[in-house]
């Protein structure tokens, strides 16, 4: 394991300037992903900046218009927060089903959004893949069971975050701190695909870090119902083979609005626009759930070892949609 300096700045500004002053530095949340990356040599930061002394990052606060979740709020706190449970059910479910209790206790929302891909080739210290600046993708012709089935280009990772999929349902915004600036961007613009930048999964620059996530509040009458379902191999704790989040707003038996997002399918959280379009303005009564589910992925290009994911995506959305309609 490479060595690093560790310290804990007391303000966001201090973090930003430390990131700027120290080439090859990184913020650290719970460290459950970053430390394992350092251990296997995938990344070798010289300086780690602990965020635990900045109280503002550890709070969930709600106003009339939005809910703010600090980036250092633990996954466990996200899953058990009553407001999140009530208004953003899918986020609560995604957090509750994430990893293991131990990891949920240390893992943070910011860390979860910024974790690196699980691709076995990327993670292996002996393999110098494109994502690590190497010259080829070793997954091609190799082991592809866990890789993406759409939008892969030169690199076939899936984004491993459960919370990212759930947040994508609620027009969430990511708050980013950089030198002299705090800005908010829609979650849909936060993640980048390999075709945009093969070395990174987010738009964050080297001197930037995530300080919070914002969720718009809704009046009770316009609240969405939502659900998150995750298929995994090991029930006690595992990344998703495929996961799906759906949020639905139904009035008078008609779907007014609908957001659908998949994990485990693409290098970034995958919004199923075609399926959303199909569902909006349809009556929930006699809804052809199977047909709708068939629209999950518009143009799947699976490998032989991961064709099952296309079926799995269809099955999960069928189940999630039926459950939601059933709960009406």
């Amino acid at each position: 394991m490479s060595t690093f300096r560790y310290y804990e700045p007391e303000s966001v500004a201090e973090v930003v300037s430390a990131l700027k002053d120290n080439v090859n530095s990184s913020v650290i949340g719970g460290g459950s992903d970053l430390l394992s990356e350092i251990k296997n040599g995938t990344t070798k930061p010289n300086v780690l900046l602990g965020l635990s002394r900045i109280d503002d990052l550890k709070r969930i606060t709600a106003t009339d218009t939005e809910v703010r979740i600090g980036s250092m709020v633990t996954i466990n706190a996200v899953s058990s927060d009553p407001v999140i449970k009530r208004d953003y059910g899918a986020l609560s479910e995604a957090s509750a089903g994430l990893a293991t209790p131990q990891i949920r206790n240390v893992g943070t929302l910011g860390g979860n959004l910024n974790q690196r891909p699980r691709c076995w080739y990327y993670r292996n210290p002996l393999i110098d893949c494109l994502k690590k600046g190497g010259t080829k993708c070793y997954a091609l012709g190799g082991h592809t069971k866990y890789l993406c089935v759409t939008e892969g280009e030169r690199c076939y990772i899936v984004h491993p975050s459960d919370t990212a999929v759930a947040l994508s349902l609620f027009s969430a915004e990511i708050e980013i701190a950089s030198a002299g600036d705090i800005r908010r961007i829609p979650i849909g613009s936060f993640f980048v695909s390999p075709s945009e930048n093969i070395l990174r999964e987010t738009i964050l620059g080297p001197d930037e870090f995530v300080t919070a996530v914002y969720l718009p509040s809704h009046a009770p009458e316009s609240r969405h119902m939502s659900k998150y379902i995750k298929a995994r191999e090991r029930q006690s704790g595992d990344f998703a083979l495929v996961s799906v989040g759906i949020s639905l707003k139904v009035s008078s038996g008609t779907i007014q609005a609908c957001n659908i997002c998949f994990g485990g399918i693409a290098p970034t959280p995958y919004r199923s626009i075609q399926m959303e379009k199909y569902l909006v303005n349809r009556s929930v009564e006699n809804l052809d759930v199977s047909y709708a589910a068939g629209l999950a992925i518009s143009d799947p290009k699976p490998f032989p070892d991961n064709e099952y994911k296309v079926t799995l995506a269809t099955n999960l959305v069928k189940k999630a949609l039926s459950d939601l309609i059933c709960d009406l």
Binding site: I127, D238, N306, E307
Partner: protein
Amino acid sequence: MPGALEMSESLIGRSVNRHHFPEKLTGDAKYSADLIMPGMLHAAILRSPHPHANILSIDTSKAEKLAGVKAVITPFNIPSGRLAVDLFILDTRVRFVGDEVAAVAAVDPDIARKAIDLLDVRYEILPFILDPDEALSKDAIKIHENGNLAIPEPINLERGDIEKGLIEADEIFEDSYYIPAHSAAALEPRAALAYWDNGHLTIWKSTRGVHVERISLSNALKIPTENIRIVGPFLGGGFGNKDETRLGAISAVLAQKADRPVRLEYSREEEFVAGRTRHASYIDLKIGFKLDGTITAIHGVATLNSGAYQASTPQMSRRTGQCMLYLYSCPNVKYESYPAYTNCPTAGSYRALGAPQGHFALETLMDRVAEYLGIDPVEFRKKNHVKIEGQPGRRTSPDDQIIDSQPVEGGVPFSSNELGQCLVKGAEAFDWVNRRKSNGSNDESKKYGSGVAIMIYRGGPGYPTGAEVRVNKSGEITVICGLMDVGEGMTTVLSQMCAEVLGVEYADVSTLFGDTESTPDAPITSGSTATFSAGTAVIRASTIIKDSLLALAGTALESEISDLVLENGYISVKTDPDRRMTVKEVASLMTNDYISSISTVDPGSTEYIVNSFGAHFVNVEVDTYTGNVNILKYVAAHDSGVIINPQLSLNQVEGGISQMLGLALSEELVTDRNTGVTLNGSYLEHKCPTILDYPEIQVIFADSVDPVGPMGAKALGEVPSVGVGAAVANAVYDAIGIRFNSLPISPDKIIRALYT
């Protein structure tokens, strides 16, 4: 199973607490990696990034110059010694990604690892082979000098006439099966601490067998065994899997070179890659049968992936086929095995060796036969499983020879065989006849099914084993044995046996194990033999000690020895029970400091086969949407003779099943086909189930007293693990109508099978 835990008068059948329970619970127990010596150095190993290469040279100069580095060893600067037939302390050829190239000892682990990065190795890259079939083809590159067959000759065993059996059959079913490599993933990674003093070597090491380790090191280091002491501290998970590596030798040579104690501890990643895996196995199986349900022929052919070195491959290749030769009554059986060296991580000894692989193939195909014949799978097995009289045919071994635990010959009866009872009691506890009624769900995505599998395994007789029983003047009793307690609780069980013979309390007996300096010669704790073999030796030695105590008491009580009885801690005169002395009082009369008896036994019987048996019943829920298999009910019925300690036995059965549920449903160690790199050597990615994933398991022990076994006991350590994959696969078939011929039965396979 509260019934099994009730106290009985006798110590046999009583769930006394396992030895060192408090120390283990509180963390006080010292494992190999906990040991510290003054001046101790830390070692690190440079491992090969190539699956197959010759090492042309290693420039150590930069590493040696790094401050804090005290020794660097390479195949070029140490004497070449053999640890096993194909394994040198270090070798100029590397045979898998992760193979040992060189090692460093330094004042702290970080410096040792830094030094490793400074070693400059020139490799000549060689073509590599990952597939055993390819390795055995004529023009394949030789991984070892004698070629790629990992044993001297292929195994080819036959009873009766297989051709005749196939001709006599009304139908022949055949199929091919694959079981992948997986890791035992013990919580404790391998660790050793080596120390030299005046030409004498001491190693504390995670091991299953201190005496065997000593012989191997003596051969490799070319020093006499009496100059080597091996000590086995507590072992953090054995599973048959802690030996066969270069760990001890590398730590010893580093310590010699540095002239300081050296600790070598594997990382979790090293444990997965450079530990020892289960053999990936391809099995082609053929069963011939008559329409009346009689089996006329069983023919199995195994192609096994030994990986880079031989390790336990000879024993494993043989054990894979034992169920094919012996689980079902059949006059004509044949088993062939072709284990091959490849450039995969080394496969070695892992709980039950090849038996889980063999049983998966046999018990899955037998299920198909039963279904084809329209016979209930339990009834089919009741009719056809091997009975107490053994297999048809004539005994071919000499009459005075101890019968092998894995026989081929017919005409030899079992010492005990309660497989029938296991099937009856297990089916009853499972409610097999009503199994289709037991699951109801409105969720159309869920399907339910039940499966059964039976199993046969070595019953305990192993290699010659010695044990000593000692009583000192204060009346303290010690059982001394060269085997290791690998976590299964052997020391507890042997203490129970000794205390039972000597008529004292369990707490009166202490134990001394796993130290070559103070224990009699013994094999490794393997093959489910410890209770049986060491137990036989302990009982024999205890009986001699008992006679000595009676003789002492006879003089003091002025009585004939034959008139004395030893029970409840007293020696008393039968006809006059008030004339009595405690064992302690009797011991105080001895003239020397202690009396002792060493007994070495060659366990087994010249008349009987000693085997253990079991029958497992599983009820599963298959989620046809997600492909997940959920175990709803698991009943395991076992014949392991008299159960000495019910709680420990329960742990063995639950542990064996839980461990193999990983192989059945989720585990696989994956070697990349293009690079030879192990891709998922971690708890996260190897997908070992956790305690939260395990189902509740109901365990039943058959009423069985083995006439050969010590106090009626037979082996239990491995047999629970052998039928798990088949029982689950049969249940999954019952649920969704699809036969899986490869493990694990993971969600991707289920979905692929259901939807294409």
